[in-house]
């Protein structure tokens, strides 16, 4: 097994042009390959420089805040506008809760829709439906946020939240006054936003499951539903997990849509119906109007924390996927 890439191999002189020197012909043939190699390395370097530069410059801007409060910046439970202390811990908890709500809502619906589209739906329905779902991905987040604020919020305040409060077991999650803007509403809006990602990627994963697997399950007498459940979804598991991780990244980092519907309350949420705040919403609320100095540095500190969380989720996801792929490779 050679590791040389195709474009690095000098192109074979299949048909030398008669009357032209050999060396000249080789020189004419090679520059393309060389230029491509340079292009490739430049591209890779630019990407690396952008990422490293981003992290370094953010860290530099946030250093004042971290220098001021040290690691307690990650918690700083008491908020004080005049002292420019941000309750980072509350934002982190809010970010994790809203993302969790979004995942809990979007994954079953998203994977179910993907399974429906790839396995069960008649062709005339599957095409238009998948385009519609892709359209949701094209809707800017401010539009989804405004829709959440103007349309969903009153519906949640009047119908959904009072209904949820009545369910006996879920009481622990849903109690307190129903305002509309809440962790739950923010999670729901996020779920709408990440749904297309989950559907599109899961659908690709499901479609790439070998048809023999389906046929085998069918041959064993499985019903349509059993085929999906026992053969198709397990076969596409890695792809679905990748979809969820990607979607989670978007949910963690969403700013404007969340800030419109979460209620921007810097208190530890006692219920999913309580208003809260996330790192993203806090950044967008405070950055434009932060005073130079410690205030601005603290907001950039929030950015660094958000970046770290997103990076952790992504790296964790990658590791998980890699292990899963290795396991799959070992069994076949």
């Amino acid at each position: 097994m050679s590791t040389t890439l195709l474009e690095e191999v000098p192109p074979p002189r299949l048909s030398p042009v008669p009357g032209v020197k050999d060396g000249l012909q080789r020189r004419w043939a090679r520059p393309g390959g060389r230029a491509y190699a340079i292009l490739r390395w430049t591209g890779a370097t630019i990407f690396a420089v952008i990422v490293i530069g981003l992290v370094v410059s953010l860290m530099a801007s946030a250093s004042q805040a971290f220098g001021h409060s040290g690691l307690s910046f990650l918690w700083s439970g008491t908020y004080n506008a005049t002292k420019d202390i941000y309750p980072t811990g509350i934002y982190i908890i809010g970010t994790l809760i809203t993302t969790a709500v979004a995942i809990v809502l979007a994954v079953p619906i998203g994977v179910g829709t993907a399974a429906f589209l790839s396995e069960l739906a008649p062709k005339w329905l599957a095409g238009p439906l998948s385009v519609l779902i892709d359209l949701i991905a094209a809707v800017p987040s401010i539009v989804v946020g405004l829709w959440g604020l103007l349309v969903l919020s009153p519906v949640f305040a009047r119908h959904v939240e009072p209904f949820l409060k009545k369910i006996p077991v879920l009481e622990w999650f849903f109690h307190g006054p129903a305002y509309g803007p809440s962790m739950l509403l923010a999670g729901t809006v996020l779920a709408v936003m990440i749904l297309p990602t989950i559907v599109a990627l899961s659908r690709t994963a499901l479609a790439s499951v070998a048809s023999e697997d389906r046929e085998a399950a069918r041959a064993l007498g499985a019903t349509r539903w059993q085929v999906v459940r026992t053969a198709v979804v397990p076969g596409a598991r890695t792809g679905i997990e990748a979809a969820v991780i990607l979607a989670m990244g978007r949910a963690l980092g969403e700013t404007i849509a969340v800030s419109l519907v979460i209620g921007n309350n810097n208190a530890l949420p006692h219920s999913l119906l309580a208003p809260g705040a996330t790192l993203g919403s806090a950044i967008i609320n405070n950055f434009g109007e932060a005073n130079p100095g410690l205030d601005k540095s603290s907001v950039i500190g929030l950015v660094v924390v958000l970046l770290a969380i997103t990076a952790l989720v992504n790296i964790g996801g990658q590791l998980l996927l890699r292990r899963r792929l290795r396991a799959v490779g070992a069994t076949t």
Partner: protein, 448 residues
């Protein structure tokens, strides 16, 4: 090997069968999507913002034809700048005053409304307070109607944005509800601050069955915003409102999630009147444009966000610029003023607050909780920030004339929108400040 080829063939067959019908699917999809979008649009058109816009438009068209309120014309007539070319009230919106070109050269001349038409072609850009947006939108529109060569693009992103933008010299002018510390300067040199409008902050509430004018005072409002008073029939509120049947609805205090001029006014009022309930808490004793208590109630972006939330939430109470409250038709609190009487926000009670500002300046700007029985306690002037040295002379002249018009003739538009016309002494202050504008060589742009 065999497996891969097989499945590929299967897929190809699948696709081939469907190719002829695919374009049909595309179109049906598009139709479905458009249908869904129009449904959403229909749902949204019945929402408060859209309704508000509609009312704004209708009021805009009616005020141009209705006669000017007497108070407005009196104030404008008293302004020193309009005496040279006092145009008939409201006709100015459509027919600009004509002037001889010799008196109004672009390089200087007197700062007067008569020279408006002489402004060179200029696209001004501004950023700042969200509270002044309805007023600016209206007056800038009328100004460019009368002076086709001048157009203004105002971004209502918030006072702090306006301050930052003018300090970094990225806009022609900034606007802030609270003047910045003097002597103010930015990358373009000295910044001068011109008072351009007088507005009030309404404490609006949504409490079905309870009429406008619910009485509240400082300590009660502080208790609400600290989360200590949580029900509308709390004894503190009923004690102030004998005879009013208050429901046991939960109070939902709404505040601005961003920093704001209205928030500053209310913070200042609560510091003055809320007693230790307010100052003893995390709020402290220094008023800030950032709302100090952010772990109680709901935070919304800008006046529109707060107004939208109040509109759709029974039990909500929040502070919004009076112009927004007026547009939305909210019920407003009658707030206890320094003289001990309870006053609702209105054009006249806000004007009464403005008339207290006899020694107004960028350092002595605070008119919150002013004296006088009819004074509404939450009012402030909005300040436009300009570089004293205008690097482009003709644009500097155009800006000076624009804001001279805004602070004089433009004030006629204030009343209908929920602002009050500037008192004569403030118009004079604006005029004097605009006269200090210079070109890059340090020569005055205008002769007095």
């Amino acid at each position: 090997m065999h497996r891969g080829a097989d499945s590929r063939r299967a897929r190809d067959n699948h696709d081939g069968r469907d190719v002829s019908r695919r374009s049909l699917h595309r179109w049906s999809t598009l139709a479905l999507a458009l249908g869904a979008l129009s449904l959403v649009a229909a749902a949204c058109s019945s929402t408060p913002t859209a309704a508000k816009k509609k009312t704004q438009k209708t009021t805009a068209s009616t005020t141009t034809t209705s006669p000017a309120p007497t108070t407005t014309s009196a104030v404008v007539a008293a302004a020193p700048t309009t005496t040279t070319a006092a145009p008939a009230a409201h006709t100015v919106a459509t027919t600009p005053p004509k002037a001889t070109s010799s008196a109004c050269s672009t390089s200087g001349g007197p700062l007067s409304a008569a020279c408006d038409t002489q402004s060179p072609s200029f696209k001004a850009s501004g950023a700042g307070a969200n509270s002044i947006q309805p007023f600016f939108t209206r007056v800038f529109y009328y100004y460019s109607q009368a002076n086709k060569s001048v157009s203004v693009n105002y971004s209502p992103a918030g006072s702090s944005v306006g301050v930052t933008d003018i300090e970094q010299n990225t806009v022609s002018f900034g606007d802030s509800e609270i003047p910045i510390k003097t002597p103010a300067s930015g990358t373009g040199g000295n910044i001068v601050q011109v008072p351009v409008d007088l507005g009030g902050v309404a404490i609006s509430y949504n409490l079905p069955g309870v009429a406008a004018g619910l009485k509240l005072d400082g300590p009660t409002l502080a208790g609400i915003y600290l989360g200590k008073i949580t029900k509308w029939n709390d004894s503190a509120i009923t004690a102030l409102n004998p005879g009013v049947n208050l429901p046991p609805t939960t109070i939902v205090p709404v505040r601005r999630a961003d920093s704001s001029g209205p928030g500053y006014d209310l913070d200042q009022y609560l510091i003055d009147t809320g007693g230790s309930t307010w100052t003893g808490s995390a709020a402290g004793t220094t008023a800030s444009t950032k709302w100090p208590i952010t772990n109680v109630g709901i935070g919304e972006q800008l006046n529109t966000g707060v107004a939208g939330f109040i509109q759709q939430t029974p039990g909500a109470i929040g502070y919004v610029e009076y112009a927004y409250s007026l547009q939305a038709g909210f019920t407003n609190v009658a707030l206890k003023n320094a003289a001990g009487s309870y006053v609702k926000p209105s054009q006249s009670s806000i004007a009464a607050a403005g008339s207290q500002a006899t020694t107004l300046s960028a350092t002595n700007f605070n008119i919150v909780n002013g004296g006088g029985a009819g004074t509404y306690p939450l009012a402030n002037f909005s300040w436009t920030l300009l570089y004293q040295k205008q690097s482009n002379t003709s644009q500097g002249v155009a800006l000076g004339k624009l804001f001279d018009w805004v602070t004089t003739t433009g004030q006629q538009q204030a009343t209908a929108l929920g602002y009050s016309p500037l008192p004569a002494n403030v118009v004079a202050l604006a005029h004097q400040t605009l006269l200090t504008l210079e070109n890059s060589a340090g020569k005055a742009l205008f002769t007095s």
